[in-house]
């Protein structure tokens, strides 16, 4: 009985296995990544968010949602990557000047330079890194961003799928007065206060899970019942045989 069901399941299994392997390969190549955006150390932001970047060759599709940002102020948002960077979000120890905040220079060793500007319209190259009129202004402190078919270099595409790229949303309000101001100038653009460019929330793009999960060992599975059905059915068939024998014997006696 056992042998029969084993043979049957091996035959069935090999038929099931082929498309199974094929699916695994296809999904590994499609390159969906997600970042959980969390407050950057020392910068006093309470916000959070998620970003999803799907890589197709050298084209990427990006969706991003965030909240808890300074409302109605432009928030520059980028994908950062540097071969020499740590591929991380900055930590308190990155505050090189010891001024108690993390600015863009402090963030560099952690996440590297801008490789994609997540603008709402127009150019998406690093050149648009501070195109404040084309970034989301976070009405109500919230960003709900979606942009498809952004062209990137193959190196950037590879960095994203390998978990080395970092999404950063900039713009903080250190003094809680509801706007970008203060005497400290941005180290990227001296015409802007540092509040406008300091990193607010940040997350590393990591591969999203692909495919299902193997979460069972079969101890309660249906095939056991099928085996039971086959065994039971076999016994009933045998009963027909012995029953017929009994009937014949009974007939002979008469």
């Amino acid at each position: 009985m056992r042998t029969t069901s084993k043979i049957a399941s091996v035959a069935l299994g090999s038929a099931v296995l082929l498309p199974f392997l094929g699916a695994g390969v296809a999904q590994a190549a499609d390159g969906s990544t997600m970042a959980t955006l969390r407050p950057v150390a020392l910068n006093g932001v309470k916000g959070s968010g998620t970003a999803m970047v799907t890589v197709n060759g050298t084209r990427i599709d990006v969706t991003m949602a965030a909240n808890g940002l300074l409302p109605d102020a432009p928030h520059a948002a980028h994908i950062h990557f540097g071969a020499d960077a740590r591929h991380e979000c900055p930590v308190a120890g990155d505050d090189a000047k010891g001024d108690g905040t993390i600015n863009t220079t402090d963030g560099g060793p952690a996440y590297g330079p801008i490789v994609v500007s997540l603008t709402k319209t127009g150019d998406t190259s690093p050149k648009s890194g501070l195109a404040v009129d084309r970034f989301d202004t976070a009405p109500g402190g919230k960003i709900n961003y979606e942009r498809g078919s952004i062209n990137v270099s193959s190196g950037v595409a590879q960095a994203i799928t390998e978990g080395k790229a970092v999404v950063v949303v900039h713009g903080v309000d250190h003094n809680n007065d509801g706007k970008y101001d203060g005497t400290t100038k941005s180290d990227l653009d001296p015409s802007l206060p540092t509040e406008a460019t300091d990193p607010a929330i940040c997350g590393v793009l990591n591969a999203a899970p692909a495919g299902g999960m193997d979460t069972g060992a079969g101890g309660t599975s249906t095939p056991n019942n099928e085996g039971m059905l086959l065994l039971g059915g076999g016994l009933l068939m045998a009963a027909v045989g012995t029953g017929a024998f009994t009937a014949r014997k009974a007939r002979n006696r008469v």
Partner: protein, 236 residues
């Protein structure tokens, strides 16, 4: 002559007794296999459709719900109405009262070489995708657990019988509890798994995915051929 009759009669009665035994045992096994008490529950079609949300105007007017939904819900002030959201904190325990799940010590899960989420090594524990959002944060937090071990039911044995509207609560390391409500429960073939639907962006909502195995068990691979996935969103 009498000898033959005698032995024939004896053989006849032995055969009759064997017939009765075979009928009883065989019948019992057939009945038991059909009753299916051992197999884990699977979600029915009604549970896999998304719940009707009160917001869209396209939903048919219902005399009982329309007055309350019109006044009870405040209009979304901006285009981005994300619902409740929590800060990051790792899950420590999971409760799903309607299916008797109450599990502590949630383990971290990673991805295998093919990008698949690895299952907990312990059949008695649930695990979460530690590289993704924590339950309560933006995005799809993922908690997976086994449906069964080699010997019997495991943590998510009854996940397939979970119903829309059921509550799921996740206690977190920071002492807070993330409470979710189930939107739908569906069964997907692992060979054609909807990766984006399950793990993809949630358009800003804090959501939860509960995953276990379902469908038939393939003895040759040692795995079930389907996954059961419950989709839930954060309520408080």
């Amino acid at each position: 002559m009498s000898d033959i009759t005698k032995s024939g009669g004896r053989r006849g009665s032995i055969a009759a007794a064997v017939t009765v035994v075979l009928l009883v045992v065989g019948g019992f096994l057939v009945a038991k296999s059909f009753s299916g008490t051992d197999a884990p529950p699977q979600p029915d079609a009604a549970q896999s459709a998304p719940s009707v949300t009160p917001a869209p105007s396209s939903s048919p007017p219902s005399p009982t719900s329309s007055p309350t939904s019109a006044t009870g819900k405040t209009a979304a002030p901006s285009t981005a109405d994300f619902g409740p959201i929590m800060g990051p904190s790792a899950p420590v325990s999971l409760k799903i009262p309607s299916i008797g799940v109450d599990t502590k010590g949630i383990v971290d899960l990673g991805l295998d070489k093919s990008g698949k989420l690895q299952a907990p090594t312990d059949f008695g524990r649930a695990g979460w995708y530690a590289n993704g959002p924590t339950p309560g944060e933006f995005g799809p937090a993922v908690i997976g657990a086994h449906v069964d071990s080699k010997s019997g039911p495991a943590v998510f044995y009854r996940l397939g019988s979970l119903k829309k509207g059921a509550t799921v609560s996740v206690a977190r390391k920071d002492g807070s509890t993330a409470r979710f409500v189930v939107d739908r429960v569906a069964r997907y073939s692992k060979a054609d798994f909807p990766t984006m639907t399950v793990y993809g962006d949630t358009k800003g909502r804090a959501e939860l995915r509960l995953i276990t195995c379902g469908g038939a068990f393939d003895q040759s691979t040692g795995h079930y051929v389907d996954n059961i996935v419950a989709f839930a969103h954060l309520t408080s």
